[in-house]
Point group: none
Chain length 198, copies 4
DNA sequence: AATGAATGAGAGTTCATTCAT
DNA sequence: CATGAATGAACTCTCATTCAT
């Protein structure tokens, strides 16, 4: 029944009516109360599950990478997961992310915690990448991270499956991210040639 | 009275109650009807003005650039305008952008048209930059553009003035964008030339 | 300003909005309060004036009849006055009559009194006619009177000046009334012929 | 629930508040929306049903008359039906008739059509009576018809069951109508024949 | 496990009314 | 004498929620 996440994506928090949710589930509105104590419960649950699923999905994907994968490659994998999850798999993720700021504090506790946890994963990746010299030093990883996630999140607003495949979008986003972060590739090539830089 | 854009930012389209708007304007709700025919009118107007202001702001900023400014620098200027306008100046812009997808079709006509016009400006800049060889060829400008705007738009969700100044954010975003787009420096020819730049 | 009677005719008591009245008088609504203390006052006044005018009109018309006019002819005159006044002259009369039953008790005192007075005139005519043998004895004058007035009052609902002149309507109504009331013209002609009836 | 016709009779179109209707039905106002889409729907339906019922009632009554009943007797039957239906049976009829002119065009379509149909029946009766020589030739049946219906309709405004029984009223109205329409008895031929009758 | 019927709280909206100007 | 601006009361209507079934 939780496919009521769908309505949340489209109408936003306040615009989500139980009637619509029920209709989407081919049910009558009161039937929802068999499964959830209240509208708020339903939304809280949905919104929580959004980030929760996404985080689990990301964890599994990162764990599945071969050991020794570079931080930058992990970041690019994370970006792919984030995009695909949001665009292909789950209304939940979209519901969670879009309504983040509209949901009253009261319902946000779990959601927020989960979101923090999700961001922590990204932070770890960014930090690792920075430590590894894979992030240019005129970019603050703490700011780059939300910029990246913003670019990815916003895709839900404009991406049109009839214009571009997810694959294309993922590829472009990855290039986009890699170069926005990567330092100029001086060292490797230059070192062989001569003492240009220290 | 239009400072009711404020409520739109916080509560979203459906969550915007006339009572709240009125209270924010130190008025009683019915007083709104002296100026607007309906709630929908008020919102339509507000949301339209959001993009409209932003577009005018951007146009002025671009016109003020010295002739011969490179497309990439124009893009970076546009990014700065977009960020500063959304974060510092105007609830309207935020109201417009955040609620884009939640507003019923009926009210979106003008808003949509204005948004398209705004995007057209960006598109022109991107195309010029591409023609100038300032965009790497493994990035599709048509996709890069919304990724960039997404990164910028999303800032409204997370940016905390107490943590980072807008200046810092702008600087970071500009570096972020410049390198996400710029083609790799060509090492062979570059050796003799000097710093990377753009 | 009292041409607000017009609105009363069309929209009824509860449907009469000060805005409409004011518009009809090429004024803004608050201007009404310069002349009347409240909406109710305006309506009360209007509705009173409706019957009052009508009654005065009728009195004058009856007084103008040559002495010795038969009760029946007086009734027919009254009918003509009633029709003409309602249809040609006065929104007031129509406003008064149509809304009689919809107006809350509180506002009806004067109106009711005036209406009673008006009916009393008719009653006097009917009684006189009955005493004069000009009303058939299988008709109760107390019931015939409101039937007649009903027929006349209702004309405001259906009469279309483009179809029938008031003159035609008046003529027909008079014939209609005369014969609905008059006894069969037996006595005069029969008495001469023989002892048919006692 | 439709017993909300009651309120229409008393308060008129604009004065009919859902609260009152609901109270009369021992319900809360919003409950009305379970059965009707809007106030206007409820009123439209009610007002339509008013004439519709009346027309059906009349049709049945006329069909029940023995074949060969004279047109005049049919008219008198119709008058009885009209009176009894309006006064004894149905708030609906009264609601329909009283508010005829106050209801906005938008809601009148069906009601108007039905009313025309009802009038058509009367017209048929009047025409038949005229063709049969049962209507005096100094009365235009097209004008006599609304005069009669007016007399009957108006009864709702003044009839007081405590003063006169419906039976009395019906009897009087019938005499009233019969003679208002019937041609003068032709004295010459009549002498030999007997009572007037029709 | 689900629904039809109903309700109470609260939303948008209308309107008479006020008041400074 | 009249209006622009604003308000409070009241109305229609929506919606989450309940409850008997």
């Amino acid at each position: 029944m939780d496919a009521a996440a769908h309505v949340l994506c489209t109408k936003g928090f306040a615009g989500t009516r139980l009637t619509d949710v029920a209709e989407h589930a081919q049910l009558q509105a009161p039937a929802i109360y068999y499964y959830f104590a209240s509208r708020e419960d339903l939304i809280e649950e949905t919104v929580f599950r959004g980030v929760n699923d996404l985080r689990n999905h990301l964890k599994r994907a990162l764990d599945a990478l071969p050991p020794g994968t570079s931080p930058m490659d992990q970041i690019l994998t994370a970006a792919e997961v984030h995009l695909r999850h949001g665009l292909e798999l789950s209304d939940y993720a979209r519901a969670s992310i879009r309504n983040s700021s509209q949901i009253p504090e009261r319902l946000r506790a779990r959601h927020k915690k989960e979101l923090t946890a999700y961001n922590r994963i990204w932070k770890r990746l960014m930090t690792a990448a920075a430590a590894d010299g894979q992030i240019r030093d005129d970019v603050d990883p703490k700011l780059a991270q939300p910029l990246i996630l913003g670019a990815l999140n916003w895709s839900a607003e404009w991406w049109d499956p009839r214009r571009n495949s997810v694959d294309t979008l993922v590829a472009n986003a990855q290039v986009f991210i890699r170069h926005s972060l990567s330092p100029a590739p001086k060292p490797v090539r230059r070192r062989a040639k001569g003492p240009v830089s220290g």
